[in-house]
Amino acid sequence: MAELDDIIHQPLRLRIMAALNALPSGGGLEFVRLKKLTGATDGNLGAHIETLAKAGYVAVDKAFVGRKPQTTVTATAVGRGAFARHVATLQEIIAASARPA
């Protein structure tokens, strides 16, 4: 059986990746919206996005809209692949438990 992805498995990182993967490829979420959707605090969310970015799973784009800084997070192709494998592994775990021993 394939292994779960240690980076994605952490609960908040799983929520971040789930949120970003719900968008079509190339679509991103602003930091504020991601915070609202995942129920995370600023600091916590920032730290976990950094971990995902270091793994190459997300890309972070910082820009100014007017005078306000805006951070947009997007799942990379590597991140989408890792997330898909992680989900497949979770489904395998459930399927294996349903099979008679």
């Binding site: 240690d6 609960p11 929520r15 789930a18 949120a19 993967n21 979420l29 989900v87 438990s97």
Partner: protein, 185 residues
């Protein structure tokens, strides 16, 4: 890594499904709210001009619809650049035109509605769509659709000569407030 049991795996999958649903709804609300605010501003202007210069109402509402269609394409393009989701495309335009064509057929050709009846018919007709769409995409649409319909009917039966001003407030203002509320929810 430490293996997890099937119960934890099921819980993780359920969380993924739940957040994906919230993202879809949030994306729809985000894009729809901008369109709603824009239509609210245009509609307010439409009713105000209808009240103060009823002779120009016919041309004006065609202009309002044309400006709304152009604005919807602009909002859709801006949203697509960020989310890769289109809120308004040519299929939506076609649906909108069919909807308007049926409204014109029912209200002018079949119904011969007067000005006051037209001012009540169009928002109720549009709010029917908001309410029906809301059954699939989110309760906010249902609340906005039913509220504006109820306020329109109250105005139609109980507000006298000020009806178009009432409609500027409850239809135009209602869409603006509804859009702002959607952005917060």
């Amino acid at each position: 890594m430490t293996p997890i049991d099937p119960k934890e795996a099921a819980s993780a999958l359920s969380e993924i499904k739940d957040i994906a649903q919230r993202v879809r709804q949030s994306t729809i609300y985000n894009l729809a709210s901008l369109s709603m605010i824009m239509w609210g501003v245009l509609t307010t202007a439409g009713y105000l001009v209808t009240y103060f210069s009823p002779r120009h109402a016919g041309y004006l509402w065609v202009t309002v619809d044309a400006a709304g269609i152009v604005g919807s394409f602009v909002i859709s393009a801006l949203g697509y650049a960020k989310t890769r989701v289109r809120s308004f495309d040519f299929r939506t335009l076609l649906a909108f035109l069919l909807f308007v064509a049926f409204g014109l057929f029912a209200s002018l050709w079949l119904g011969h509605f007067n000005g006051r009846q037209l001012s009540a018919f169009w928002p109720i007709y549009f709010m029917l769509i908001y309410t029906a769409v809301g059954l699939w995409v989110g309760n906010a649409f249902v609340v906005i659709g039913l509220s504006i319909t109820a306020l329109t009917l109250i105005g139609y039966f109980y507000v006298g000569a000020w009806f178009d001003l009432w409609m500027a407030a409850v239809d135009g203002g209602g869409l603006i407030l509804g859009g702002l509320w959607m952005r917060r929810s």
